[in-house]
Each structure stands twice: as structure tokens, then as C-alpha cells.
Symmetry: C2
Subunit: 253 residues, 2 copies
């Protein structure tokens, strides 16, 4: 059994807690949460603490807090030479405090409160300072996910930036599509099968192979007609920049 | 039985042909294809013609050619007062030739050669000049899809523009994510569960509710660090514009 203590009570912390709760290989020693009630639906109240001083011994301390709070939380831990990892995509492993052995346990997924996800399908990117710690993190990750990757801090950063494009920005394009539909009294639902198929395609085709549309086939008439149709300047600018990007890339092939 | 003739042999034509082949309510009279061999794997060769003059009588003629060729093909048909529809998202119904009764039969999906799709889930947007013709198109659409919508040319245009954002542009963001991963020797596959979940989320949450990331939470440190990380100017520009768009929208809420 790997004994873990989870520090944090946000989305990632809660989803990890649910996953660890189901794992036979993991014993949850404690959860640190500033507000006890944030996680009391997921773990018995005697295991929740809001004081770093109360943290008992564990094999791994997992800091699941916002990216910019990782370093500060790590520096506040009142013990030395234990394995402390964070779950952030953007913080480097080095940003953890030198008092303890460092590692990363980064689940690459978008977590929504109240929407359950199957952790088995979520890639977990692990990294550690020391080989023995790597083995512990590997065992821990394997116990909740089928997709465990060894990823260094540089690679993780590139994954995090890529994730902004394929998740945050993609979702924003959904929003623009939704706004255009709303403005013309068309139910956005009509586009959902297209959204689903667009994502599904990428499982079997490369994005280059999957690319279609007026920009790809250099259909200037349709492009002009779309720009003419769009009344929002911001939508126009995004349309122009992404069309240009598709066309420029096409030329390079 | 509705007797149809399909004009065209591209992606949309081939996927429609497969769907109609399976429908008990439809009899395929002919397929017009400039090259006989383009569709000979889908229909017996005696039903394929490459001459408009050879077109026999049918209840509906479906023009499934590229958007900019619709009007020209419609004007070349050597008969009058029959029901002629196109499958284009961007061409108006009016662009069809006045010699015949006009309609639209627009399946809203991205079709890839060789990748089969379940037509039952594909929204079909129909429109017609005359009520009787509407009923025929409705019956035809119902025979292959569970999602049939009555959509006028203005609404269809807004759907088509939205589709460019949620399909063409989204796929291009996948491509940028892929390029960033390639440049840092990280397998793009790691991002696939995130891509899938991003699309899945939209089935139960609005894009506003689903939005996460540094732009949404105004995390300027991470934004700066990502811009610093990106070496490609085009990627930088897209990152900036979409980040700004997410932030501006956030303010408006």
C-alpha cells in the first residue's frame, strides 16, 4: 500500500481523491484543506486537516493547488527529506522546495466539478528527482490510470501549452459558434454531432489529413462571403488569422 | 418509395449514396458522375451516367458537388419543373436554376473518404420552395437520419460559418498542438483523451460553463510564460488573439 497525503481541495484534488479512494494500492493518510467542508463528502472528517503542522508521515505528499501557489505551499511544509510532488502542468519540478525530494504527478485532463471522469483513460505524466521515488510514483499512477508517461519538465511544459490550444482555445471556438447560432436563432445543438466527429477524427487521422473547409481548399469566394456575414470584429479577426494560418501551412506542405 | 438521382461523386455524394443504399424508403434511379469509376463501388454500373442528357425521371435530383459548382450544374440540367436540391451549407436555395423547383438537403457533418459515419446521428437541414416538396424532402431525410431540421437559407449560412469555427478552425488548433508536441518529442497521443473530453463536455455544459485555463482565470504569469515558450510567431499571434478574446468576453459577463 502506498500511503499518500493530498494537499488541496480544488477540482484536481477532488478528482484525484475520488480515484485514490477506489484504488486498492493506495491508503489515504490525510487531506489538507483550508476549509474542512470542501472535501468532507469524499473522506472521513478525522482525516482532514487545515494545519500543515498536523500532517502525519506518508510515502507521498501530493500538492494539488493552483499553479502559482505550488512553490509557496511546498515551502510551508514543516518536514524534510520526504517525497513531495505537484500536479501542475506548468510549474517545473524544480519549483518545489529543496527541503524535500521532488517529483511531479500531472494528470492531463480538464476537470469539471460534478462531472465524473474515468481516470483509467487519463494520461498521468510523472517525473522525479530520484529513481526510487520514480518507482513509487509509477506504481501510484498505474493504480488509477492505464496511461502513464515519463515526461520531463520541458516536455510537460510543451504539453501544457498544447493543451491550451486543443482545450481552452478549442472550447472558445465552440463558444463563438454558439454565439453565431444564438444571433441567428439556430439551436447550437445542431452542431454537436459535428463537434464530436471533429474530435473523433483525430483518433484515427492526423490533423493535416483531417483538415477540410474553405481555407484548406483556397475557396476565396466562400471566405469572403463568411467575412461579410460576420458582424463581430473579434470574430472577423479570429476568422482571418486562422484562415491565413491554415493557408500558409498548406503552402509549406 | 422516393425515387432519387444523385448528381456528384465526391465525399458528400458517396456518403449519401451509402446511406440511401441502406434506406428502404429510397430507390436510387441514377448517379451522375463525370468519371464512372468514382462511384462504381457503390452502385451498379448501368445506373451511372456521365451525361446530363441521359438523366431519367426522378422525384428528387440531389446536386452534391462543391459549393461554387452548384449553380452551374443546376443550370445545365435539361429538364423543367422537377424538384432539384443541393447539399451545400453556403449556397443559397435561390442559387439553383429557376427552370426547376428548388430545395436544400444539407447534411451538417465533416465527411472523410474511407471513414464511415452513422447517418442516423447526422443533422439534415432541409428547405424548399413548395410545401409538397418539403414533405418529400422530410420523408427522404427521416429515412436516413434521426435529426431533421427545417432551416432557411439565412440560418443555414450561420450554421455553415459556425461549422467553420467548430470544425475547420478547431482541427487547425489540433494541428498546432500536434506541431508543438512534435517539436518537443512528446507523443501527440497523450492529448487525445483531453481532446475527446473537451468535445464531450459541450454535450452537457455550455461553452461558457466549460471554459477553463489561464486566459479564463486571468493568470498573467502563465500566459507570459506560454508566450515566452512559443517560438513560432504565428502560434504566438493565435495565442494572443484567442487569449484576448476569452478575457474580453469574461469581462462582459
Amino acid at each position: 500500500m502506498i500511503q499518500i497525503t493530498l494537499i488541496g481541495s480544488g477540482n484536481v484534488a477532488q478528482h484525484l481523491l475520488s480515484a485514490f479512494n477506489k484504488s486498492d494500492a493506495v491508503q489515504i493518510i490525510q487531506v489538507y484543506s483550508r476549509k474542512i467542508e470542501s472535501v468532507s463528502h469524499l473522506i472521513s472528517i478525522d482525516k482532514i486537516t487545515n494545519s500543515f503542522e498536523d500532517l502525519a508521515e506518508a510515502d507521498v505528499y501530493i500538492i494539488a493547488v493552483s499553479d502559482d501557489a505550488v512553490a509557496k505551499v511546498a515551502s510551508q511544509l514543516p518536514f524534510k527529506n520526504r517525497l513531495v510532488v505537484h500536479t501542475s502542468g506548468s510549474a517545473s519540478m524544480e519549483s518545489l522546495d529543496d527541503n524535500n525530494r521532488k517529483g511531479v504527478f500531472y494528470p492531463l485532463q480538464t476537470f469539471t466539478k460534478g462531472k465524473e471522469v474515468d481516470f483509467k483513460d487519463i494520461p498521468i505524466c510523472i517525473e522525479s528527482q530520484f529513481n526510487d521515488d520514480y518507482n513509487v510514483l509509477k506504481k501510484l499512477a498505474d493504480s488509477i490510470s492505464d496511461k502513464v508517461f515519463t515526461i520531463n519538465s520541458g516536455q510537460r511544459r510543451s504539453l501544457h501549452v498544447s493543451a491550451v490550444f486543443v482545450n481552452n482555445f478549442v472550447n472558445h471556438l465552440y463558444k463563438i459558434g454558439n454565439d453565431i447560432c444564438d444571433a441567428h436563432q439556430v439551436p447550437f445543438d445542431i452542431l454537436q454531432p459535428l463537434i464530436k466527429e471533429t474530435a473523433d477524427k483525430i483518433m484515427s487521422l492526423s490533423p493535416d489529413e483531417a483538415q477540410t473547409g474553405p481555407a484548406k481548399r483556397n475557396d476565396q469566394t466562400t471566405i469572403e462571403s463568411h467575412l461579410d456575414f460576420l458582424s463581430d470584429d473579434n470574430h472577423k479577426n479570429i476568422y482571418k488569422l486562422l484562415t491565413q494560418s491554415i493557408q500558409d501551412h498548406g503552402k509549406k506542405l
